[in-house]
Symmetry: C2
Subunit: 223 residues, 2 copies
DNA sequence: ATGACCCGATACGTCGGAGGTCTTCAACGC
DNA sequence: GCGTTGAAGACCTCCGACGTATCGGGTCAT
């Protein structure tokens, strides 16, 4: 095993074992390199790799710190990975989203606050009559994100955030080729919101399922 | 933005755009560094980071290649990230698993082959009467893994692999020393297998839900 | 002709050192 | 009291050199 890989494992071990806690500052490069028994260059490769997946936060002129290690932060690195997937796996991601998002929406129905409900409503109202495709995609993402955040499970939220990345393109295609898609999406959004306001978890789950299934169906028929 | 981060983005761009395809070989370090306008050391940091998340495969003495980019391979890096999560987030991961795994089990009921069913049965039989904790963890992991693989969705499979990896499961099992918990788990495994054999998706889903919920309930009461 | 073995070319792995740039913070002058 | 300035500390980038692993062609014995 390469010394850099050893260094990655050692740093990981220090964090997992608790020797390094979230927010802690690492020894400076030269010291850490000496402590782990490798050169500064090789250590930097290890630090850079851990920095890419948000384990470490390197600040020039200051130092290197352990991040908060929040699920939200760590799983955020997943969207980077997801970007590499080819179009032919979009359907698989969408299938996973069809499992997760209705469940998250149902969970949100039981615990979403009045404030969040108003915020979602205001967000839907803010969208004009003839929004651009970019506005529609952004609104769609933000709407579902707001709901999933109200599910109270940050892991679930981050996971959905990650896998919604590749479907973004699908949403754009859909907006470009189906005229009535815009109106239908907005109607479904309002239906989901109404179910949330009624604290009707099953109806909210069903609307979410319908909402995603329509995208999936269109995508399946057009590939 | 640092030159290394630029290099990461450029390499990512080359892959996403299709200029580099899965299995392709990259130019040698010195050439690629010159092409991207940075030093070999800085480029190596970028390559190392992409290597950690299985985008690139570096072989000493040979060259650097783009991996297959399979969802299975890329999401495998997620288990590395999950290892960093603290015990207090185990419940959130388990909640996500409780959503995904019943769905995956139901999907598997519709398409699992006789051969896989026999393999699962043989695997359950192989476990002795008084297995060690390590054997239990391995058996539990392999059983659910086998089912999820039969769901036919590699993204779903990899995702579940990541969030219920060895580390996470070991943490749970370490506390589950109660004898009846072990026996109950094994009974539930056989019930799930029976439902799969009957092609009864709803029963399989329910057993999977019960199976995970019991773990979740125990964990919640003991924290 | 076939197989094992050797060896050079190639490419990644590691190292040490030299400047450069950025952040922080305390000392200074107004 | 406040803004400025300077130095110290830490990361950033580069260079050149050497070590090590892999591959492929050539050689030699069978």
């Amino acid at each position: 095993m390469a010394v850099t890989d050893e260094a990655i494992e050692k740093i990981k071990g220090m964090i997992v074992s608790g020797a390094l806690r979230p927010g802690d500052r690492l020894p400076r490069e030269s010291e850490l390199a000496a402590a782990l028994g490798l050169s500064r260059n090789s250590l930097r490769e290890a630090v850079r790799a851990l920095s890419l997946i948000r384990i470490l936060d390197v600040r020039q002129g200051d130092g290197t710190y352990v991040t908060s290690l929040d699920p939200q932060l760590l799983l955020q690195a997943m969207s980077f990975v997801v970007d590499f997937h080819r179009d032919d796996t979009v359907l698989e991601f969408l299938a996973v989203r069809r499992i997760l998002e209705p469940a998250a929406t149902a969970m949100a129905a039981l615990r979403i606050g009045e404030q969040q409900l108003d915020a979602l409503a205001a967000q839907l109202d803010r969208l004009g009559d003839s929004p651009s495709v970019e506005e529609l995609v952004a609104c769609d993402l933000e709407f579902h994100r707001g709901i999933v955040q109200s599910s109270g499970n940050s892991v679930l939220c981050s996971l959905l955030d990650g896998i919604s990345g590749p479907t973004t393109r699908a949403r754009i295609w859909r907006g470009l080729t189906q005229e009535d898609a815009v109106a239908r999406t907005l109607r479904e959004h309002r239906a989901i919101l109404a179910a949330l306001r009624d604290r009707d978890a099953e109806t909210a789950r069903s609307w979410a399922t319908v909402h995603i299934a329509s995208v999936e169906q269109w995508l399946r028929s057009s590939l």
